[in-house]
């Protein structure tokens, strides 16, 4: 895979050919990264998403590498990529949990209401079923973090959905708890769901504190501004989180107070 700067036409061409999957992989990534508006981008990515193939251990390529990257790119092309929703819903049922993860994230970014029911179904077993670790590797049976985050992003709350999410607040892994709290906070706007996230900002592990920062930012929970600012983590991440409060949040603290908090972290 080459990291050379390429043009949009070249990226489309790399995705269109099918002799070299690593070229397709890079082409798909490029189109998402650069948020291509080209009319061929979405149809080509849908075609690439259909391209499933097993992991090639010898070549060091992950399972369904092109399909996964196509799903990720389609998420970045929201809202133009809404035409891909049926194909992403199919990918959500794929045996490859890595592809299901990429599809779930994309469906979240596309705010695909059609995805709420199938995602809830995947999570319905709760932490002891969907959230249990696979026998052969450290991943969970379902890509819970991505599924939970997608529900929050799609943002269509009903009581049954909240009841599916809530048990994951008790998951053994802090990142799953963080994703669950974020989704509940996004869907309900209720302060009680912010509490687990504020607690995770003080977690002993840096990667957990980082995740909680990103989740509070995604939820736009403005009352967390001071706690975000005081978290032991890189200012870069605190600034991203505070940007989330400014752009997605409402109420107090107001815009100017948040901007002043950001200024102090530059």
């Amino acid at each position: 895979m080459t990291g050379e700067p390429i043009s949009e036409a070249e990226a489309l061409e790399r995705l269109r050919q099918s002799d070299d999957p690593s070229m397709q992989y890079y082409g798909a990534w490029w189109l998402g990264r650069n948020r291509s508006q080209h009319p061929d981008a979405v149809p080509l990515l849908i075609e690439a998403l259909r391209q499933r193939r097993p992991r090639d251990v010898g070549a060091g390529v992950e399972e369904n590498a092109v399909a996964r990257n196509a799903a990720r790119a389609l998420g970045k092309l929201a809202p133009a990529a809404r035409a891909a929703i049926p194909e992403l819903l199919t990918a959500l049922e794929d045996p490859d949990d890595g592809l299901r993860e990429a599809a779930a994230r994309a469906l979240g970014e596309l705010k695909a209401r059609e995805a709420v029911a199938p995602i809830c179904q995947r999570l319905a077993g709760g932490p002891a079923v969907a959230g249990v670790q696979q026998a052969s590797n450290p991943r969970l049976v379902e890509p819970c973090e991505a599924l939970l985050e997608a529900l929050g992003e799609i943002g269509m709350a009903d009581l049954a959905e909240l009841a599916v999410i809530e048990p994951f607040l008790g998951h053994a892994r802090p990142l799953i708890r963080s994703a669950a709290a974020r989704a509940l906070l996004q869907l309900s706007g209720e302060r009680r769901w912010a509490e687990p996230l504020l607690e995770l900002l003080r977690h002993e592990q840096l990667h957990v504190r980082r995740a909680a920062l990103m989740d509070l930012g995604a939820a736009g929970w403005r009352p967390a501004a001071d706690a975000i600012s005081a978290t032991l983590a890189e200012n870069s991440l605190k600034l991203i989180a505070l940007r989330g409060l400014v752009e997605h949040g409402r109420g107090e603290p107001g815009d100017e107070a948040l901007l002043i908090t950001m200024d102090a972290l530059l």
């Binding site: 890189e234 870069s236 600034l239 400014v246 100017e256 901007l259 950001m262 200024d263 530059l266």
Partner: protein, 212 residues
């Protein structure tokens, strides 16, 4: 043996990342200018927690730390990046060249971000007026270039820098450079030119503060 010698020794003898962080924080808290060489050394240890503490200590020491910061080996990229943050915080005009270079060429967005803010907050009160005008001109040119940085957080810091520069300068409102600064902020505040709404809001706040 001065009173900070044991604190310096504790940094030099730290056996773990956590010990180094604690010893650096203690040395930084002394605020003693004699701590500067050791704190600058910590910037190159590849320990972000300790480097943050060292930067805070160097900013507290201020002007006496500047020479030590400027003497850092340019090939030691990690240490230079932290030095840019310290120089941006201190605001000493001797950091001007390094801040400009950092804003325009550094690969790290967090370094460019700190440099942009620093270019708006240099302490120029002691300079002769023609010298001061020349420095302000250099800061303005660099910040205007920074408006087209690819990272939102750098453009955000450029808006903050432009506000600080225009605020601190003696430009009257109809001065050519004041107009160039406000024109740049107007662009950063406009959705046709700036995609990140947080940057637009910050630019609008800067303009409001400069015009009222």
């Amino acid at each position: 043996m001065g009173p900070i010698t044991p604190l310096i020794q504790a940094v030099e003898q730290a056996g773990s990342a956590l010990e180094l962080l604690r010893a650096t924080a203690a040395l930084a808290a002394s605020g003693d200018a004699a701590a500067a060489p050791t704190l600058v050394e910590v910037l190159g240890f590849n320990n972000p927690g300790a480097a943050v503490a060292a930067v805070d200590g160097l900013i507290a020491i201020g002007t006496p730390a500047v020479d030590h910061l400027l003497q850092l080996d340019p090939r030691n990229y990690g240490a230079r990046a932290w030095a840019v943050r310290a120089l941006a915080g201190i605001g000493d005009v001797r950091g001007l060249e390094l801040l400009i270079e950092a804003l325009l060429t550094d690969v790290g967005p967090s370094v460019r971000r700190a440099a942009a803010k620093g270019l708006g907050s240099l302490q120029l009160q002691g300079l002769a007026s023609d010298q001061r005008a020349a420095v302000e001109q250099r800061c303005l040119e660099a910040l205007l270039q920074g408006c087209s940085d690819g990272e939102w957080v750098v453009r955000y810091a450029v808006a903050v820098g432009l506000e600080g520069l225009a605020q601190g300068s003696r430009w009257p409102p109809d001065h050519h450079d004041h107009r160039r600064a406000t024109a740049a902020l107007t662009q950063l505040g406009h959705a046709d030119h700036e995609e990140a709404s947080v940057v637009r809001l910050r630019a609008a706040l800067a303009l409001q503060r400069l015009t009222t």
